[in-house]
């Protein structure tokens, strides 16, 4: 299957008073039509910068320093803002954590969705725009859309606002939806509904989705594939089954083990000791070594390559080197829960 989006060795640097932050370091992955790819990692590991780099929405201090972004086989890495404006919307749309920041508090919800439609189809007759707004509102699960068309964001609950943001994002019929922690600010019951909605949209519209989260528990519901990010790098990537039932990277083990659902009956929750390293001058060797109870001598000297486990499953840990001692994963197998 041809990739909709192909990221090759992407690196992003951000200037800061403390020095250059290497927010994304040599990241490669593909996104296929109609799939949900989850990107999971602790905060500060570069998830948002990766998304912003893909959409070319980096802050002024940020810059793509290496690698390529291919959309439908076309290299867009050096596209100008003008070219990008055409692509955004048509090719990708985005949903961020805080729905309020994406909505204009002074304009009714329906009108905001209508405006998003008109950006991409300026000549669409009024009545058709209205009908599309209503069908979008229905699609994202806003009940009584006719009545709610004229309501303002402050009339809506947090969940309803995030649904509205999704409707705006989908107004342009994007091929790719980038959802950066779309449920982090929401209640669990609403979170479950939004995740179901993401899945439904993917099934109904075939939209490919990049779903960013810091919580492996949350993305199990709708991810087809999962990429684990640490200190600006993807350290493991595979199908959801591979990541949850056969994880190979000690960082993935750590993320899984700290979930309370996998600690039932234990006296203490398993934790990952320490904190992620600063991305100003990150270590040249394995950045996870200091926190890794399974670290090998080699981890302190050299960055591990991506070892291939299956056609779809890769992990960057020296434990997968044929010379490494065999370590039984502390977690995995179908009997997770």
């Amino acid at each position: 299957m041809e990739a909709l989006l192909k990221i090759e060795n992407l690196s992003v640097g951000i200037k800061s008073p403390a020095g250059k932050v290497q927010a994304v370091r040599d990241v490669s992955f593909e996104l296929h039509p109609g799939e949900v790819l989850a990107i999971v990692g602790e905060s500060g590991c570069g998830k948002s910068m990766l998304c912003k780099a893909i959409m070319k929405l980096l802050p002024k201090s940020g810059k793509i320093e290496g690698g390529r972004i291919l959309a439908n086989g076309i290299d867009i890495t050096n596209y100008s803002e003008k070219d990008m404006r055409k692509l955004r919307g048509k090719l990708f749309s985005f949903v961020f954590q805080d729905p309020m920041s994406a909505l204009n508090p002074t304009i009714p919800i329906g009108q905001q969705i209508a405006e998003a439609i008109l950006v991409h189809e300026p000549k669409l007759p009024k009545e058709q725009v209205y009908n599309r707004v209503i069908s979008l509102m229905e699609l994202v699960g806003i009940r009584q859309p006719h009545e709610r068309y004229k309501l303002y964001p402050y009339n809506f609950s947090g969940g309803m606002r995030q649904r509205s943001v999704m409707a705006i994002a989908l107004a342009s019929n994007p091929k790719i939806l980038l959802a950066d922690e779309p449920t982090t600010a929401l209640d669990v019951t609403i979170q479950a509904q939004i995740l179901d909605l993401l899945k439904e949209i993917q099934v109904k519209l075939g939209t490919a989705t990049i779903l960013v989260s810091h919580d492996l528990g949350v993305v199990a519901r709708c991810a087809d594939r999962v990429a684990i990010m640490y200190a600006g790098k993807i350290v493991e990537i595979g199908t959801a089954e591979e990541i949850y039932y056969d994880p190979r990277h000690p960082y993935t083990w750590g993320l899984m083990q700290s979930l309370p659902a996998l600690n039932k009956g234990r006296d203490e929750l398993k934790t990952i000791p320490g904190m992620p390293p600063s991305l100003v001058n990150p270590p040249a060797h394995d950045a996870f070594a200091y926190r890794n109870e399974y670290a090998l001598e080699m981890d302190y000297h050299q960055q591990p390559p991506m070892f291939q486990i299956t056609d779809t499953h890769y992990a960057a840990t020296w434990l997968l080197d044929p010379r490494a001692p065999k370590v039984a994963p502390p977690i995995g197998g179908k009997a997770n829960v």
Binding site: T189, M256, P260, T271, V337
Partner: protein
């Protein structure tokens, strides 16, 4: 029979918005927390959890009801004034958004030491700085952070500083209002272990407020569920999870994500209307210690 540290009786709190509009944020809520217990309070945002916490901490004056702490009615101005020092020193709160409650002009070391200095407590580890380093270490940060300012820290680090500050007082009652909601899962686990340790080894009683039921299940001895200002269910943790009675409790439980993709995909779609739960009825004991708000006619 263990001693009751906190006794919340028919607590109600109303926010007046204008002459004609008011919000009944808390509506006739009663529960008790035993000494040495970790009590969980869960519910969706806006259900009144923080308002309960703030009434307990004397931030808000309740519209009705009483709150007894060590038998002292903290809502009574006279009793409050008479016991002011003890109440300030032995009760600590960690806010949901402690990041913004930290003094921006103070270093981490000073922030942690401030409550001890105010109450003229001699630092058990020699100096305030040593005490700060100790408390920081406890929340998983090293002493290189002592001289930093809040602006130089991440949200998670600021939250941990707020926790270190509260713990430095060795509080008898710690009210933690969604203390981990903004933190990474791995850091959440560190903080949760920390609360467990404080409870077990230092005997702190904890009111732990959360919207995430999975952490509550792991941490708390008993749990109360709030919905739109009402306490709709209260039970020992195991009992609540095994035998939830109120439809809202069931919805909350069914929404907990499971880190297992096949199980998740096979789970039925969540179908609950945001507006659909009943909050009328009488708080009834269904089983020993298990209370549910239910209409009397469906007994």
């Amino acid at each position: 029979m263990s001693e009751i540290l906190l006794d919340v009786q028919h607590l109600s709190h109303m926010f007046r918005l204008s002459k004609h509009a008011a919000i009944q944020a808390v509506d006739d809520v009663s529960f008790q927390i035993k000494k040495g217990e970790i009590f969980g309070l869960v519910g969706e945002s806006g259900s009144g959890k923080s308002t309960v916490a703030r009434c307990i901490m004397n931030v808000f004056k309740p519209t009705a009801g009483k709150i007894l702490y060590h038998g002292i009615n903290v809502c009574d101005p006279k009793e409050f004034r008479r016991n002011h020092k003890m109440l300030e020193a032995t009760r600590q709160i960690i806010f949901q958004d402690s990041a913004s409650s930290l003094n921006r002009r103070m270093t981490v070391a000073d922030i942690i030491a401030e409550p001890m200095q105010i109450h003229r407590i001699k630092p058990p580890r020699g100096s305030y700085r040593a005490e700060g380093a100790f408390q920081l270490y406890y929340v998983g940060m090293d002493d290189s952070y002592l001289d930093k300012y809040p602006a130089e820290l991440s949200g998670g680090q600021r939250q941990r500083v707020a926790i270190a500050r509260a713990l430095s007082m060795e509080p008898e009652l710690l009210v933690a209002d969604e203390p981990v909601a903004s933190l990474d899962v791995s850091i959440q686990a560190q903080i949760i272990n920390l609360f467990k340790h404080c409870n077990r080894d230092h005997g702190h009683t904890i009111l732990f407020i959360a919207h995430d039921l999975s952490m509550v299940e792991y941490l708390c001895d008993r749990v109360g569920v709030m919905y739109r200002g009402k306490l709709v269910e209260l039970a020992p943790t195991g009992e609540l999870y095994a035998n939830p009675q109120h439809p809202y409790t069931r919805a909350l439980l069914s929404a907990i994500p499971i880190p297992d993709p096949i199980a998740e995909r096979n789970r039925p779609k969540t179908e609950f209307d945001e507006l659909s739960f009943d909050k009328d009825g009488v708080f009834t004991e269904m089983a020993p210690g298990h209370f549910v708000l239910r209409k009397e006619n469906n007994r």
